[in-house]
């Protein structure tokens, strides 16, 4: 049940941002550091309702915004939308632990970068389109590989499977106590 708790999400986002700010810059050059909040949002939203997916994205994005210390709301809005869309799509597509998270991460990454470019443009930060899009292939590959890996590492499962397991355990316990 821990995967559905908000404190769990906060801890996961915290770890993701720590890795993103302290570890990944040692590997990737300036301007090319990939985002880890996006894969975590996708993994959480895959097993959630759209409303809770939106909440997860909002929490992760807001944490990144606070950490970055600039435009509060840029990442919150972006990842809330990503969480909502992924949770919505999840009920309509086939369930799989590797290809679906990877594919969704790739699609989300394709949407996130132009979306954020647009938002930044609207608030007066005019970055060149080609310069902004240059790291996209690297980020695309990174998120497509890392998202299933994080999913596998965390071992997240759909709510009904977890609930059924708990129900079975509870039933067997009550059966044992009755027999005793």
């Amino acid at each position: 049940m821990w995967q559905f708790r908000i404190p769990t999400w906060i801890i996961l986002y915290l770890l993701a941002i720590l890795v993103e700010t302290a570890l990944l810059p040692q590997i990737f050059p300036v301007g090319w550091v990939p985002n880890l909040v996006l894969p975590v949002t996708i993994i959480i939203a895959l097993y959630e309702t759209p409303r809770r997916g939106l909440a997860a994205g909002l929490i992760g994005g807001l944490m990144q915004d606070v950490w970055a210390g600039r435009l509060w709301g840029l990442n919150a809005l972006t990842f809330a939308l990503v969480g909502f869309l992924v949770a919505n799509l999840e009920s309509r597509i086939v369930r799989d632990n590797i290809f679906v998270p990877g594919l969704l991460a790739g699609l989300a990454q394709l949407l996130v970068v132009p979306f954020q470019w647009g938002v930044l443009h609207m608030v007066g930060l005019h970055f060149g389109w080609s310069a902004f899009m240059r790291p996209l292939p690297v980020w695309l590959l990174f998120s497509m590989l890392v998202t299933p890996a994080i999913g596998g590492l965390l071992g997240f499962r759909p709510r009904h499977e977890v609930d059924r397991k708990y129900a079975r355990t509870a039933m067997s316990r009550s059966g044992i106590s009755r027999s005793r």
Binding site: L18, P25, P29, V30, W32, Q64, A68, G69, R70
Partner: protein, 288 residues
């Protein structure tokens, strides 16, 4: 007669053998050369067989020896592989230490050449999670005397300035940041302008010049002008890469490649204070 021979047969045979051997020894001693030739002839006749046998024997012997050596060789290979691994890791460690040593020597040289300046060494502990904002967090804060607005430098040039502090850390806005503005001038022509972060991916800077027709060419060194409230004058910013007309052709903008390698920014110096009117020599050489 027959009974006599039969009775004395053994002594007779022994005497005959001694006589034949004596005669043979005496004869072969006299015809020595022919005996050797005979011996050679026999040797020649049997030599193919001898050499074949010798070859086979040698091979069998060496084969047996090789089988015996296999165990020794296996052990030696394991030992050599371990040694190779050790040497490789030592080599890596050495190159890392050499790089670190070079950076620290640069910082020491900077400190030595800035008499009267109060500098505080700090390490970069994290970067901004958003790629379009170029800020880093350093491990020195208010308790070390670091305040907002202080310039941050390395031996190669200007890094940025402190924009916020906590008791133990400080956030530094790099000159690459789109919101950063540094008063700068061309060393050769003294053309002045403002340096802004231009492109977060290529890591270049935009030098917006004030003059309508400034004298600036690719390869010129650009330093801080001293008009800025944050940066001391004469600190190296970078080198002009290209020059182009800005929108409507009224002014010119130069693309400047920063002198600092922001991908390898580990140790920096915060300028706590510096005597007014003094400036550091713009180029330190860094690694020496």
């Amino acid at each position: 007669m027959g009974g006599f021979i039969y009775r004395w047969r053994r002594p007779i045979i022994i005497v005959l053998v001694i006589m034949v051997v004596s005669l043979s020894l005496s004869f072969t001693a006299r015809v020595h050369g022919k005996v050797v030739a005979l011996s050679n002839l026999i040797g020649t006749v049997v030599s193919p067989a001898s050499s074949t046998l010798a070859y086979v024997g040698e091979k069998v012997g060496s084969g047996v020896g090789t089988v015996g050596q296999l165990f020794t060789l296996e052990h030696e290979t394991v030992q050599l592989k371990q040694k190779l691994l050790l040497y490789n890791s030592m080599k890596l460690e050495l190159s890392e230490l050499s790089q670190q040593n070079s950076q620290l020597r640069g910082l020491l040289a900077l400190k030595a050449s800035s008499a009267g300046w109060r500098l505080k060494a700090a390490s970069v502990i994290s970067r901004n999670p958003d790629n379009w904002y170029q800020t880093v967090v350093i491990n020195q804060g208010r308790t070390s005397g670091v305040k907002d607005g202080m310039a941050v430098i390395v031996p190669q040039g200007v890094v940025g300035r402190v924009i916020s502090t906590t008791p133990v850390t400080a956030t530094v806005m790099l000159i690459l940041d789109p919101n950063s503005g540094v008063g700068a001038q061309d060393v050769r022509s003294q053309s002045a302008g403002v340096i802004n972060g231009r492109d977060p991916v290529t890591g270049t800077l935009s030098f917006q010049l004030f003059a309508h027709r400034p004298d600036i060419t690719p390869g010129d060194a650009v330093v801080t002008s001293g008009y800025s409230q944050y940066y001391p004058a004469g600190l190296l910013i970078g080198q002009v890469q290209s020059v182009r007309k800005a929108a409507y052709g009224l002014t010119e903008t130069a693309v400047v490649r920063p002198a600092v390698n922001f991908n390898q920014l580990n140790n920096v110096m915060v300028v706590l204070s510096h005597p007014s009117g003094t400036s550091l020599p713009p180029i330190y050489g860094g690694s020496r």
